[in-house]
């Protein structure tokens, strides 16, 4: 079993000689290599606590974290392997989320699909990354973690749990950390487009179909802008602008939901 997180000795052995130079850059930040190893070991147990799963083969964990900014030169994890793991983790995540949603909600298939999209989206997974502490410990850079890397790492982590502990272990993590966010989305219908939510609310409450009117347009060579007004009957409720009609109508609908207090 390859494990660099267990002892300092093993850590040095696994680290290619050439990469020792990289330690200079960490020293500049006031963190020595020893601190990092200690930090990592601490990180491991803390991360496992947050994830709610203890790896029997820590090599999986190491591979899952290989794309975090400062893992480079420390973990020596293979980026290509990390991406393969993310590919697997993404499929595990989707299957478990869909299964969970089908169990919990009677909604039609296309709505289940939309709820799922929200739960497995990059911003949502970046939130999960923060919740389980991927932004702390030796990984943290002053600028934090890019949402894309954070989200990809969560997927890779799910792949790692699946490979190490199987479907059930992955399901427990996903239920505890991701599926729990479903109820808010379902209750407030956040998975629907704002324009769709506004129209439904207007129809249900006022029996009126809202309309959008173009109130301004500007076009230069490099950019275009459109301003839309959102009307219920002849009364203007809100406005929105954007680079195209779709974006402008979404913004108008969001503003409309706020203005009517239909959120």
């Amino acid at each position: 079993m390859v494990s660099i997180l267990t002892t300092q000795r093993e850590y040095y052995i696994l680290r290619p000689i050439g990469s020792f130079n990289k330690s200079d850059k960490y020293k500049k930040g006031g963190i020595g290599i020893e601190d990092e190893i200690n930090g990592m070991m601490e990180m491991r147990s803390e991360l496992e606590k947050e994830v709610g799963y203890v790896f029997s083969d820590v090599a999986y964990l190491r591979r899952a974290l290989a794309r975090l900014p400062r893992a480079e030169g420390i973990l020596e994890g293979d980026i290509a392997e990390n991406e393969r793991m993310e590919f697997l983790g993404d499929a595990v995540l989707e299957a478990i989320v869909i299964e969970g949603l089908c169990e919990m909600y009677p909604h039609p298939g296309n709505e289940i699909e939309k709820i799922k999209m929200g739960l497995v989206s990059e911003p949502m997974l970046a939130v999960i990354a923060r919740e389980i502490g991927l932004e702390k410990g030796p990984w943290a850079t002053r600028r934090g973690l890019k949402a894309e890397i954070a989200a990809d790492t969560v997927e890779a982590l799910i792949g790692a749990i699946y490979l190490d502990g199987g479907y059930e272990a992955a399901r427990q993590f996903i239920e505890k950390r991701i599926l729990c966010h479903a109820s808010e989305s379902v209750r407030n219908e956040l998975y629907k487009k704002p324009t769709e939510r506004f129209r439904e609310q207007a129809l249900n409450r006022l029996h009126v179909n809202p309309t959008y009117r173009v109130e301004g347009k500007s076009k230069t060579k490099s950019s275009s802008q459109i301003v839309l007004g959102l009307y219920i009957g002849s009364e203007k409720v809100a406005g929105g602008e954007g680079t195209n009609r779709r974006i402008a109508s979404w913004r108008a609908a969001m503003n409309g939901l706020k203005a009517m207090e239909w959120n």
């Binding site: 393969r84 993310e86 299964e99 089908c102 039609p108 298939g109 289940i112 699909e113």
Partner: protein, 233 residues
């Protein structure tokens, strides 16, 4: 009307504990428009569940059996589970005779039918999964779908026509092809595009699709044919 579930079980090689699940997997939503008092729901939820299970099983298979980088595995997977392949699987399994759909849908035996057939395979997978869990679903997928991996590799079905067209064009002529929208129409939710693929100033072929990507892909496919480059490596 109900289907002969035991006959369907024989075709798919799985005996269900809950027969109505298999029955439901065969109900297209259009059927319910004409039979409003039908006791079961349509197969859409099963289809979405089945789609996710299929993706998981095929991804795990590829991850375990191929050491290719992620990008190539993604191409393998889309060749293995795309609509065209699943429609083929549906006819191999013989699902068509069990499908329950509206009279209008019954008449349409073209693209719409292929689409419906592909979805029914996913719905069957969803039904098997709900009824018997991961193992029998995996068995069905392995026997009926993953068994096509050899064809995918042999016929290079994983190759994206756009990148292939570009590769061959650069190699043979030293020119990167370009794409131009020739025509677009329809409202936002139902857009259509016709896109031409050009080498230099010369139009090689056109493709139509409901998104720019789809139309470009189609144009590249036709371009490969027009140039006689289909068999190039």
């Amino acid at each position: 009307m109900a289907i002969d579930v035991s006959k369907l079980e024989e075709k798919i090689g799985y005996v269900a504990k809950e027969k109505t699940l298999l029955q439901q997997a065969m109900v297209h939503r259009s059927y319910l428009n004409e039979h409003r008092d039908f006791e079961l729901d349509h197969n859409e939820r099963l289809e979405f569940l089945g789609d996710a299970v299929l993706e998981l099983v095929s991804t795990e298979y590829l991850y375990n059996n191929f050491s290719n980088p992620e990008g190539e595995l993604t191409n393998f997977r889309s060749a293995l589970v795309n609509g065209k392949m699943l429609a083929k699987v549906a006819s191999e399994v013989g699902l068509e005779e069990f499908l329950m759909m509206s009279r209008g849908e019954e008449k349409d035996t073209g693209k719409a039918r292929q689409y419906l057939l592909a979805n029914s395979v996913e719905a069957v997978i969803g039904a098997i999964y709900l009824d018997g869990g991961y193992v029998p679903a995996k068995t069905f997928i392995t026997d009926r779908i993953l068994s096509h991996m050899e064809d995918v590799l042999a016929e290079k079905l994983y190759q994206d026509p756009k990148s292939k067209f570009q590769e061959v064009s650069q190699e043979k002529i030293g020119v990167t092809p370009s794409y131009r929208v020739e025509k677009e129409w329809g409202p936002d939710h139902d857009k259509h595009f016709i896109i031409g693929v050009y080498i230099g100033g010369e139009k090689i072929a056109e493709g139509e699709g409901t998104s720019k990507q789809a139309a470009q892909r189609r144009a590249a496919e036709k371009g490969l044919e027009a140039k006689g480059w289909k068999e190039e490596d």
